[in-house]
């Protein structure tokens, strides 16, 4: 087992197998990474030079001009602010709701447990669909508001059940002894359960934050015409969807000016990187948690 790669004494069939294994994982790594590096290289390359083609993973004429132009001229800063805001608020609210519900559902003595649990679980299988939801949001006068980003999806049954299965693993004796010390159920939740649930909460926080940061369709559906409420993903979507330099679909005249200075291709690549970087920043910190959380959730559901 400990023998090195291709060491003598291994049968040829195992060596061939090893060869296939390392070839495949090398290919997968390249196929996964290359597109990102290619986009990054083009975004950092002079826009007129990029048109000539042939850029792989290194910029040929390095420049930061693409980024400077985009940030100077377009409403991207607003998009960035709204995206960050919805990510922070959506994650915090989502964590509170999921952990509170999970705590109450983990309590075997809770009278409402069966009802709440079934009521929640059903939402994982049946949904009203696009149009009834749209009409509801309209009737609630939430179109054209920031609230539409964080409120409708506040409670996620899946997240509740992942956290609950984690809480189920915490000895109940801890809660009982806190109760003897005179703690009420809320104090137990806040002081005992929450600190012990951190790994599960970190996983769910990652899912919530990534979900918030990555969503674009709610902006498209409800706030597409509200310039002060559009998100980064939505701006990127508009740029990518427009195959011509026709500026109608872009945020005001600003993007037209950007397009006049640097090619649409460079604009797309640079915005793609801007949208992806925050994910890359949080990714390594949370990676150790999500594998655990994912396995837990998958086994439970």
């Amino acid at each position: 087992m400990k023998a090195g790669l291709f060491s003598s004494g291994t049968p040829w069939s195992d060596r061939a197998f090893d060869f296939v294994v390392y070839l495949v994982i090398a290919l997968v790594t390249v196929i996964t990474l290359y597109p990102f590096l290619n986009v990054l290289a083009i975004s950092l390359n002079d826009s007129t030079d990029s048109v000539r083609g042939g850029i792989t993973i290194f910029p040929r004429q390095f420049t930061l001009k693409n980024y400077e132009t985009i940030f100077a001229f377009s409403g991207l800063i607003t998009g960035l602010k709204i995206s960050l805001l919805r990510t922070v608020i959506g994650t915090v609210l989502g964590l509170i709701s999921a952990s509170m519900l999970a705590f109450t559902l983990s309590r075997v003595d809770f009278q409402g447990r069966r009802f709440v649990s079934t009521f929640l679980a059903l939402t994982m299988y049946v949904s009203g669909g696009l149009i009834p939801t749209y009409i509801l949001i309209k009737d609630l006068h939430m179109i054209g508001t920031f609230a539409v980003y964080v409120l409708p999806g506040l409670v996620s049954a899946f997240n509740v059940f992942v956290i609950r299965s984690f809480i189920d693993g915490i000895p109940y004796a801890l809660q009982e002894s806190a109760k003897l010390d005179g703690a009420n159920d809320f104090t137990i939740y806040w002081r005992v359960i929450l600190p012990l649930t951190k790994p599960a909460l970190a996983t769910i926080a990652l899912f919530l934050a990534v979900g918030q940061w990555n969503s674009w369709f709610d902006t498209y559906l409800y706030n597409g015409s509200k310039d002060h409420l559009t998100t980064l993903q939505y701006e990127l979507m508009k740029v990518i969807q427009s195959t011509t330099t026709n500026a109608d679909s872009f945020r005001g005249r600003n993007m037209t000016e950007v397009m006049a200075q640097i090619s649409p291709e460079s604009v797309k690549m640079a915005i793609t990187i801007i949208v992806t970087v925050p994910i890359l920043i949080v990714y390594p910190f949370l990676q150790r948690y999500f594998v655990k959380g994912m396995t837990l959730g998958a086994v439970k559901s």
Binding site: L120, Y134, L136, I240, I279
Partner: protein, 318 residues
């Protein structure tokens, strides 16, 4: 429980008072759950009430009782619309392709990854392979479009460079390639992520099995085929069945972002059809009928899949 109440009024009263007694004792538990239950009621259950729209000539300005009833008119319209059948075909085609590729490739990759003996290399490849899962479909679609583009797209460059084709292919305009492009994009984005569950299952296989196989002189390939693959069989079955339940609810995100007018005949899924021909044209009732069709088929598939699952394993996944 309720049925017993009229027979023994005293017992019922006692039970009732005990309920309220516990209710007050558990007031914090109620406070921590009831507000969210109401929340779920509003945002997840009220839209179900909206299904009534499909049976009415729905006008947004009117109240529920003032709407004119239409009976099954919109469903009849739906089943007489060629676009509907096209959308159904596209949905089924892309979900079946996604299902097949989305299972085979991650399983093979997980088994191969499990054979990597150099720990740090294995972790590195895993970390890289999870990454695309976390970028949005907007970003993924942008990247895919760039890679497939006719001017300097990597795929065309590679194919031309290898002399497999003489002219770059305009992938974005080829309807008959659209399903493959969507499936391949999905594989690119989710393969790594989908291996997590299989790697966890593989880790649970007892090392003594491999030990015994080695003593018997089994090669690594034979071990992978005869031990690893059967070892994760039950995991695979569970996941396949869950996926069958979600067969028609593939949504529209990828199709919306990767598609364009040139390939619409192949890119329009049921949800996209509801978006374009229901919501987009203000035909709320018609669009809701599409949503209902979609949900009903989903639930039927889910129960069917669960029934098969029960037969195989005597367990229920719902």
């Amino acid at each position: 429980m309720k049925a017993a109440a009229p027979l023994k009024p005293q017992a019922a009263a006692r039970r009732k008072s005990r309920f309220w007694h516990t209710f007050f004792q558990q007031k914090y538990l109620y406070l921590m759950s009831i507000p969210f239950v109401l929340w779920v009621f509003v945002f997840s259950y009220l839209p179900l009430w909206g299904w009534t729209m499909a049976f009415q000539k729905f006008k947004p300005k009117k109240s529920f009782l003032d709407q004119d009833w239409a009976g099954l008119q919109y469903f009849r319209e739906l089943f007489h619309d060629d676009q509907f059948f096209q959308a159904l075909r596209n949905t089924l085609a892309m979900s079946v392709m996604g299902l097949v590729a989305g299972f085979i490739i991650p399983i093979v990759f997980a088994i191969l990854l499990n054979e990597v003996r150099i720990g740090i290399l294995k972790r590195f490849v895993q970390t890289i392979s999870y990454l695309p899962h976390f970028v949005s479909w907007v970003v993924a679609a942008g990247i895919v479009t760039k890679m497939l583009s006719t001017d300097n797209g990597a795929v065309n460059d590679l194919l031309v460079g290898l002399h497999l084709i003489s002219e770059p292919i305009q992938f974005s305009g080829k309807g008959n390639l659209f399903w493959t492009i969507v499936t391949a994009s999905d594989v690119w984005k989710e393969t790594g992520w989908n291996t997590i569950i299989y790697l966890a299952a593989i880790a649970g296989i007892g090392p003594e099995l491999y030990e015994a196989a080695r003593v018997d002189g089994a090669s690594r390939l034979q071990q992978a085929w005869n031990i690893t693959l059967p070892g994760i069989r039950s995991t695979i079955i569970v996941l396949v069945i869950i996926s069958i339940g979600h067969l028609v609810s593939i949504g529209f995100e990828k199709q919306f972002l990767l598609g364009n007018n040139l390939v619409r005949d192949y890119s329009q899924t049921l949800d996209l059809y509801a978006l374009n021909y229901g919501l987009g044209m203000g035909r709320y009732s018609f669009g809701t009928a599409i949503n209902i069709f979609n949900s009903v088929v989903s639930v039927i598939l889910l129960f069917a899949a669960n029934g098969i699952f029960k037969k195989i394993t005597k367990e229920s996944i719902i």
